[in-house]
């Protein structure tokens, strides 16, 4: 297999390198890829959509269908991961581990054993990997609010700077995964539950698609945000900018929920009780 694979790879690579000889040289402004469609985007974006970041404008307005179905692909991947891994009916583990917080002593409690009346001084910990690290917990508690604030800024300021729904959503999802890593998976689930994640990943796609449908109801084409001008009371160019913002928020919600779902299911192999 290795010899055959090496042969195939060498043959294929040689063909591709032979193909590059006909390419325009690297960084050539007169290359065919840079002279057909993109000059129109670069020159007309600001007057047509009032968004300085051309990438955001092309992503959410000129090629809105593309982005909508990419969002649906991500939604489908999250749901597929849930269906593949999630175990609903599970047998309970044979024991649980508790840590006495003031002394640091760990207790192993067998299944159906009686627990003490007052559990305030105990916290449940994972069976297989039980560190207690004050520095990690405190550090993550300091980092998480700022990373979430930064994610909201990235979504809202995507018109003027690099960023947008995809990046902001990923950072939001990563902050929730960071909380689950720094404490344990049960605290993460208590903060941002599985049901909320599933509902939000559908809600993001719904916001995107219903914005397009709203444009249709107002008498324009699907995802033609200029029709929203009557709704917002602004001129059609500014309405396009607002429509892009709504769509980016939908993308951000959906991507955040899918990232959290992927993390929860992969780290606990679908049982969602113990993880990293």
């Amino acid at each position: 297999m290795k010899v055959l694979g090496t042969l195939v790879v060498l043959l294929f690579g040689g063909l591709l390198i032979y193909g590059t000889l006909d390419f325009p040289s690297w960084g050539d402004p007169a290359a065919p890829a840079s002279t057909h469609v993109s000059p129109r985007y670069i020159e007309r974006t600001l007057e047509e959509t009032s968004v300085p970041n051309i990438v955001t404008a092309v992503l959410a307005d000129y090629r809105g269908y593309d982005t909508m179905f990419e969002t649906i692909v991500i939604f489908t991947a999250g749901i597929a991961c849930l269906f593949l891994l999630r175990v609903i009916k599970r047998e309970e583990a044979e024991a649980r581990m508790y840590r006495h917080i003031p002394t640091g002593i760990t207790l192993r409690v067998k299944q159906r054993a009686r627990l003490p009346e007052s559990m305030e001084e105990f916290e449940r910990i994972d069976l297989m990997w039980v560190p207690y690290d004050l520095i990690v917990k405190t550090g993550c508690r300091l980092i998480i609010p700022f990373s979430q604030l930064f994610a909201l800024y990235v979504i809202a300021h995507g018109h003027h700077s690099p960023g947008g729904g995809f990046q902001g959503g990923v950072i939001l999802g990563a902050s929730i995964a960071l909380y689950a890593i720094s404490t344990n998976l049960r605290s993460g689930l208590a903060w941002f539950g599985e049901k909320a994640a599933v509902l939000l990943c559908g809600l993001g796609v719904f916001i995107y698609a219903s914005t397009g449908a709203l444009c249709m109801l107002l008498g324009a084409g699907y995802l033609d945000y200029g029709a929203l001008s009557t709704l917002f009371g602004v001129d059609p160019v500014t309405a396009r900018s607002h429509g892009i913002l709504i769509v980016e928020i939908g993308v951000g919600i959906s991507v955040m929920a899918v990232m959290v779902l992927l993390y929860y299911n992969i780290v606990s192999a679908g049982r969602q009780d113990e993880g990293l």
């Binding site: 195939v8 294929f12 003027h160 299911n265």
Partner: protein, 131 residues
Amino acid sequence: MSDLVPILISKVNYWVYIALMMIGLWAVIAKNNLVKKIIGMNILQTAVILFFISIGAKYNATIPIIMHGHDAGHHAVNAIDYINPLPHVLMLTAIVVAVATLGVALALVIKVHQKYQTLEEDEILAKMDEQ
């Protein structure tokens, strides 16, 4: 010899991208471990993305965010001053879809490991033959 140097300078980036693609493809074909195969698949994906982005690169141009966008008085925007934004848009979504496919692939790997207790391809095939 003097003819070769300009070709080398203008094409060496493409050749590095092709080398990356071939590393990824070789890992997908020849590696025995499933996680290694997934890493190879991701390297292949990112190399293709790198290739697409480099198609839009321009010398002496700036990033595709229009400068002084909302200042008083519209000035003419010349396409030659800005990098081609179209590959960026297409590949931005491709990166996020790549992580979604990575999640599904890792879910399948975990299912395979639950059933066969190994990630090596030859051992999985041997266990499938036993059953």
